[in-house]
């Protein structure tokens, strides 16, 4: 269905990524934000609360992130599209209830404007080091969807994608933005509501007495209901069966949890639908010798390196991740068989690089261009890595790290190479 024109602030703006996220969420129909202030995400909540009255959305500043995520889950059960906005430290605090949301198959969105870490880190500067955490952060098995915008424009558009995916798959969806994109002010075009497709909540439509909470449709997702409609919901975080009833100790011991609980579906509904969920942007992959795999702000920095490398005569392709999770395993596998190697620049010490390596099955070299955070890569380092992969004769078994210019100047070339072994 189309977006509600009252929720869409159609127009051309000059705003930052944080504000664009807020506008995107509102356009998607989000009517509830519970949050706790954390740099560098605060502008998003501020933008949301200023617009909330005119669209009938409610904002509550909770006492902490733990309360924020709990309130989001509650509001979702009351029937609202709900979200919270945070950064690294708050993301960590929310992990337990992200697991609850995943286990209960609640549709909700979390915006993580990533910053320097670990711990308090560098609050006012960028990072991309929460990527693995977005998938594996909470205990137990479950799958999430994570998106990575590279600009305020994408911040707006991907929020709509995020809410749509959350409703379609009843899972946590994370917008893994970062301080650079969040605080970058750029032109954002918000189209008319008639050009925005939003996914309505998949409500159960059958007779009340036949309602089985986790009975799945063909895409492995169950229609949902809301509190107050007389379904006598039984919502519980304990591992449960189709009716939502917890599995007893005895049953867990004697029977196959895959068959009697919803656990298997928490991962399958994403893994089996991965082809519909995964989105990447490819450029000149065919005939490439080297492919740069990047996401978020780093993909914009990589563009410059790629341009230069191409004019240096190297056939460079680019694979930009729109969805980081689920990861495009098959595509990487296909490409690995045909290229010399991958270059993975990321603002961390290696997260997606290891996924690329895993999916390459030893068919291609993977060189990580790490970055400790706070700023973005120097395109020269990405360029250097592209050259290295293009000229590398040896096949490495594991991910190799590119020795960046900074390290060279600090340690000197030989010392840095020794450190890499």
């Amino acid at each position: 269905m189309k977006a509600n024109p009252e929720d869409v602030f159609t127009g051309v703006y000059y705003i930052d990524g944080d504000v664009a996220c807020a506008y995107g969420a509102i356009a998607a129909g989000c009517k509830f934000l519970a949050g706790y202030p954390i740099t560098p995400s605060t502008e998003a909540a501020e933008a949301f609360v200023r617009r909330a009255p005119e669209v009938g959305a409610l904002f509550i500043q909770m006492e902490d992130e733990l309360g924020s995520i709990a309130a989001v889950l509650g509001a979702a059960w009351a029937g609202k599209k709900a979200m919270t906005i945070t950064s690294g430290p708050g993301f960590s605090l929310m992990m337990e209830n992200i697991g609850l949301g995943a286990a209960l198959e609640i549709p909700f969105v979390i915006i993580n404007i990533q910053r320097g870490g670990p711990s308090t880190g560098v609050p006012t500067r960028t990072g991309q080091a929460d990527i693995m955490q977005s998938r594996w952060g909470s205990h137990g098995d479950y799958e999430v969807i994570a998106l990575s915008p590279d600009s305020p424009q994408e911040s707006f558009e991907f929020m709509i994608k995020a809410f749509n995916l959350a409703e379609r798959y009843r899972c946590p969806v994370m917008l893994m933005s970062d301080e650079c994109v969040g605080h970058m002010t750029e032109k954002v075009v918000i189209p008319p509501a008639s050009e925005i497709e939003i996914e309505p909540r998949r409500f159960y439509k059958g007779p009340k007495e036949d309602y089985i909470p986790y009975k799945r449709e063909s895409d492995l997702v169950s229609p949902i209901v809301k509190a107050g409609d007389g379904y006598n919901l039984y919502i519980i975080g304990l591992t449960h069966d189709e009716r939502g009833y917890p599995i007893s100790d005895e049953e867990a011991l004697k029977k196959d949890l895959d068959k009697i609980s919803t656990n298997r579906y928490l991962v399958d509904k994403i893994r089996k639908n991965r082809d519909d969920i995964i989105e990447v942007v490819e450029d000149q992959i065919d005939g490439a010798e080297v492919v740069v795999v990047s996401y978020g702000i780093t993909s914009r920095v990589a563009l410059k390196a790629i341009e230069q490398a191409r004019s240096d005569g190297i056939k460079v392709g680019s694979l930009r991740l729109i969805t980081v999770w689920p990861f495009p395993e098959k595509r990487i596998e296909e490409i690995a068989a045909r290229v010399k190697g991958f270059v993975v620049p990321e603002i961390n010490y290696g997260q997606v690089a290891f996924e690329v390596d895993r999916c390459s099955h030893g068919e291609a070299n993977v060189i990580l261009v790490p970055h400790g955070g706070a700023s973005v890569h120097d395109p020269k380092d990405i360029l250097g890595a592209i050259h290295r992969v293009a000229s590398e004769k040896k096949r490495y078994e594991n991910v190799i790290e590119y020795t960046t210019g900074l390290e060279m100047s600090v340690f000197g070339k030989r010392l840095a190479e020794i450190a890499r072994k």
Partner: protein
């Protein structure tokens, strides 16, 4: 001559409370002598008196023995994570203000790990009823010391006697801003029922504390007998003092317990304040120019 009476047992005996219970989950997990079941009965009786549209009542509980309540009550029930029942309930209430939300959880869940949320929901005066069953211990995990454990009670993690001063829940609730605060015991069911009714009738954050025996851990470890012995203790030592200043409501080990209705006041609820603010809030019209502050 009187015909001998034979006792006929009907195939399926129904109890008035059956409508409100998930009978397929009964028998429940609570120990013989536990007071939680009694609190649930009082709650059921209160709902009957209030004649609410039960479709619109939501029960939210956390983790613990009392946290299990959500699983046995046939309403929209939410068994959430430890300490987070109140913010979850806040989300439900703000997501749909027409719903009546009751948080039914234990002392550890509500004022220990959940303490921060308890304080702020009371401060905001979110319209909900909080029934806090206080058994002075973390029972579900095997009887560890809790913030409500009196000095010098024994628990598994205070094997030489607890030395930490315990929380005074009514005082905390009042100080944080609750509009209705009462304390009863698992013995005083009729009055507990009345209090739950009153709590629902008061707009805002209402807290009803229920002092309960824990026959498996608290009273067993401290050699205080079983549930019935604790009830006898409450009978002999609980004294009703309505309006007692909450600073006098500390619970000392095996001493007098003051019960009654202590706070009953009016404050604007969160939704009242929000709606008032909303009507005065400036609505920013859409502008096609620079939106940044």
């Amino acid at each position: 001559m009187e015909a001998s009476k034979t006792l006929t047992i009907e195939k399926e005996q129904r109890h008035p409370m059956d409508e409100l219970l998930r009978m397929d989950r009964i028998p429940h997990i609570w120990c013989p002598g536990c007071g939680i079941g009694a609190a649930v009965s009082a709650f059921a009786a209160a709902l009957e008196k209030l004649e609410f549209d039960l479709d619109k009542v939501c029960v939210v509980s956390g983790i613990g023995c009392t946290g299990r309540v959500a699983g046995y009550i046939k309403l929209d029930s939410f068994h959430t994570t430890h300490g987070r029942a109140i913010p979850f309930a806040t989300g439900i209430k703000l997501g749909n203000p027409d719903l009546k939300v009751v948080v039914f959880s234990g002392d550890g869940d509500l004022v220990s790990i959940g303490g921060n949320h308890f304080i702020h929901a009371a401060r905001r005066n979110i319209d909900m009823v909080v029934i806090c069953v206080n058994n002075f211990i973390y029972a579900m995990t095997g009887g560890q010391v809790a913030p409500t454990t009196p000095i010098p009670a024994y628990t598994t993690t205070s094997p030489f006697g607890n030395f930490e001063p315990p929380s005074n829940i009514p005082r905390l609730a009042e100080a944080a801003g609750a509009v209705y605060v009462a304390r009863w015991t698992a013995l005083h069911l009729r009055r507990l029922t009345e209090s739950i009714v009153e709590a629902f009738q008061r707009p805002g954050f209402s807290v009803v504390e229920v002092i309960s025996p824990c026959s498996m851990y608290y009273s067993r470890i401290n050699k205080l007998g079983e549930g019935i012995d604790m009830l006898r203790f409450y009978h002999d030592n609980a004294i009703i003092r309505h309006g007692e200043p909450t600073e006098n409501l500390d619970i000392d080990y095996q001493k007098q317990i003051i019960i009654g209705r202590f706070v009953d006041r009016e404050r604007p609820t969160f939704m009242d304040s929000y709606r008032k603010w909303l009507s005065g809030a400036e609505s920013i019209s859409k502008e096609k120019v620079d939106e940044k502050n």
